[in-house]
């Protein structure tokens, strides 16, 4: 066609508008890269006061939490966070894995059509609603049904309740990732296995799950990082006692709850303020660590299909 005519169509003003748009949109986009750097450096700067007066070892491995006398041992909070997240993953992981296999390998489309909105809604329910559900359903259930089975007396506000609530919250998150992972496995692989005389279940066990293994691990890692930062729901049912929990029926005090419970009021004590910002930093580092690790695993896994 007539290229010159088309070129002439692009008038100088249109080109200028185009250039203008390009520049401000680039600036907008750079903003994205700046935000996380800004947050990390801000948190670092705020926690420097704490780090100047205490060694890192002291902060992380001491369990003495007496802000008024300048003692900031984070161990109870770190341990509570670990208890709650690991236990919740322990509950959620098998349910997600089994359900993911069911939905990708066995379920017909009516089941899929039913389960898809179920998962979406579970993923969309706000944290605070999970908290309310925890208080009215899970806490009494744990206090009246589960604890007596083990001969334990508890208010129900403890690690176990928090883990159950948290498990339900991460189930849709992990399940969605698992379904994606299993669906990226080429159908030809299943066909190859079947054509060698394997049955469906044998194929799932020896081919599909094995192929999906790195992806399954990353899905769990992402789930872990998601539940590590979960605040309100956990805070509402975990009991909030600053001591290293010695069992699942003990109350705990995870890092996000520490920040949420104290931040608004403790601005007047600089050391305390700094300590809370340090816990935000710690939280962010741990979450990013699991997040990045899992994503790299997934990416190296996806590369193998290209």
């Amino acid at each position: 066609m007539n290229w010159n005519r088309i070129r002439d169509n692009i008038s100088p003003t249109r080109l200028q508008i185009n250039k203008f748009n390009e520049v401000w949109m680039l600036v907008w986009t750079l903003f994205l890269v700046v935000v996380p750097l800004f947050i990390v450096s801000g948190l670092l700067w705020k926690s420097s006061l704490l780090l100047e007066n205490h060694t890192l070892k002291e902060i992380i491995f001491s369990s003495e939490w007496k802000p008024m006398s300048g003692k900031f041992g984070f161990l109870p909070f770190i341990m509570s966070s670990l208890w709650v997240t690991l236990l919740s993953l322990l509950i959620a992981a098998p349910i997600c894995l089994f359900s993911a296999i069911h939905l990708t390998q066995y379920a017909n489309r009516y089941v899929l059509r039913f389960m898809q909105p179920v998962i979406d809604i579970l993923a969309g329910i706000p944290s605070v609603i999970y908290g309310v559900w925890g208080i009215i359903a899970v806490v009494p259930f744990v206090a009246e049904k589960i604890a007596p089975m083990f001969g334990v007396q508890t208010t129900g506000y403890n690690i176990l309740s928090a883990s159950i609530v948290l498990a339900v919250m991460v189930i849709p998150f992990i399940l969605n990732i698992l379904i994606d992972i299993i669906n990226t496995i080429p159908k030809e692989l299943t066909e190859a296995s079947l054509s060698l005389g394997a049955g469906k279940w044998y194929t799932i066990k020896h081919v599909i799950l094995r192929k999906a293994l790195p992806g399954i691990i990353s899905a769990m890692g992402l789930g872990l990082s998601r539940s590590f930062g979960e605040t309100i729901a956990v805070l509402m049912v975990v009991g909030n006692v600053a001591a290293i929990p010695s069992g699942i029926f003990q109350p705990g005090y995870p890092l996000p709850a520490l920040i949420a419970n104290n931040y608004g009021e403790m601005m007047s004590i600089p050391q305390y303020d700094s300590a809370l910002m340090f816990s935000a930093l710690l939280l962010m580092i741990i979450v990013l660590f699991f997040n990045i690790g899992s994503r790299f695993l997934i990416m190296s896994y996806e590369k193998r299909f290209k």
Partner: protein
């Protein structure tokens, strides 16, 4: 003896929803020969192959009717175990899909499914089939390596060895050389010519020259129908229909 039929497809129809994929297919595939299925892209060649070893079961949306006889057993309506039927056919796909395990285990996979096998016997058979696929010399020192570490050509030969290991009498090969370099392709072709004494081979290909080189019998498909079938010599020297002629000239694609 000359023209013993191994697979007989009778009025096979296959549709997805309202879309007809295969329309009234009738073919006879001779025993221990290489049958080449030709046809432009999307005409249903792969689907025909899939119905022969019941992989169509994997796609609940596909509706299949008609009969496929293998050694006089109607595999579409048999009461026998589908996995036993599938084991009688080795499958080679367009791209190699090695199972996510070691080279050794890929070959042993089919042998181990149906029961515990003596370790020494297993070693012997793995070696035997790797040799059959002319891969043994290249991999004998790295049997424990993941199969994905092999080159594409080697992977395809591994898939051949894996398929032969379950002792099939039919080999279904769906464009097995399309992802391979010319040398690896030649190796596979040579392999097929060697194997056809003991196996009935069905090969889908786009490459006319490949078909002419190795086919004994040709089936030509177009838009889900079989247009023409017959011995390779006659097919290439004296095509019956206009569509076939056009295809052989290269003007359909």
């Amino acid at each position: 003896m000359e023209n013993q039929t191994k697979i007989k497809v009778e009025s096979l129809n296959l549709s997805i929803g309202n879309k007809v994929i295969l329309n009234d297919i009738n073919i006879s595939i001779p025993k221990n020969k290489i049958t080449v299925i030709l046809g432009p892209s999307g005409c249903g060649k792969s689907t025909l192959m899939k119905s022969m070893n019941r992989l169509t079961d994997l796609y609940p949306e596909m509706k299949v009717s008609g009969n496929i006889f293998i050694d006089d057993e109607d595999i579409l309506h048999t009461k026998n175990d589908v996995t036993e039927i599938r084991k009688r056919m080795g499958l080679l796909s367009q791209r190699p899909y090695p199972l996510p395990m070691s080279i050794y285990k890929n070959v042993a996979y089919g042998l181990k499914i149906s029961g515990r096998v003596n370790k020494q016997l297993l070693n012997k058979r793995v070696e035997h089939y790797l040799q059959q696929a002319s891969l043994w010399n290249e991999v004998k020192d790295r049997l424990k390596d993941p199969a994905s570490s092999l080159s594409i050509g080697q992977q395809q030969r591994l898939c051949l060895a894996r398929g032969l290991a379950v002792d099939p009498d039919i080999i279904l090969a769906d464009e097995p050389t399309s992802a391979l370099d010319p040398i690896s392709s030649q190796e596979i072709e040579k392999k097929f010519l060697e194997l056809k004494g003991n196996y009935t081979i069905i090969l889908v290909t786009h490459i006319l020259r490949q078909a002419a080189r190795i086919a004994d019998y040709v089936v030509f498909m177009y838009l889900g129908e079989v247009i023409e079938q017959g011995p390779a010599k006659e097919f290439f020297s004296n095509p019956q229909t206009e569509i076939t002629k056009a295809y052989l000239r290269g003007s359909i694609n």
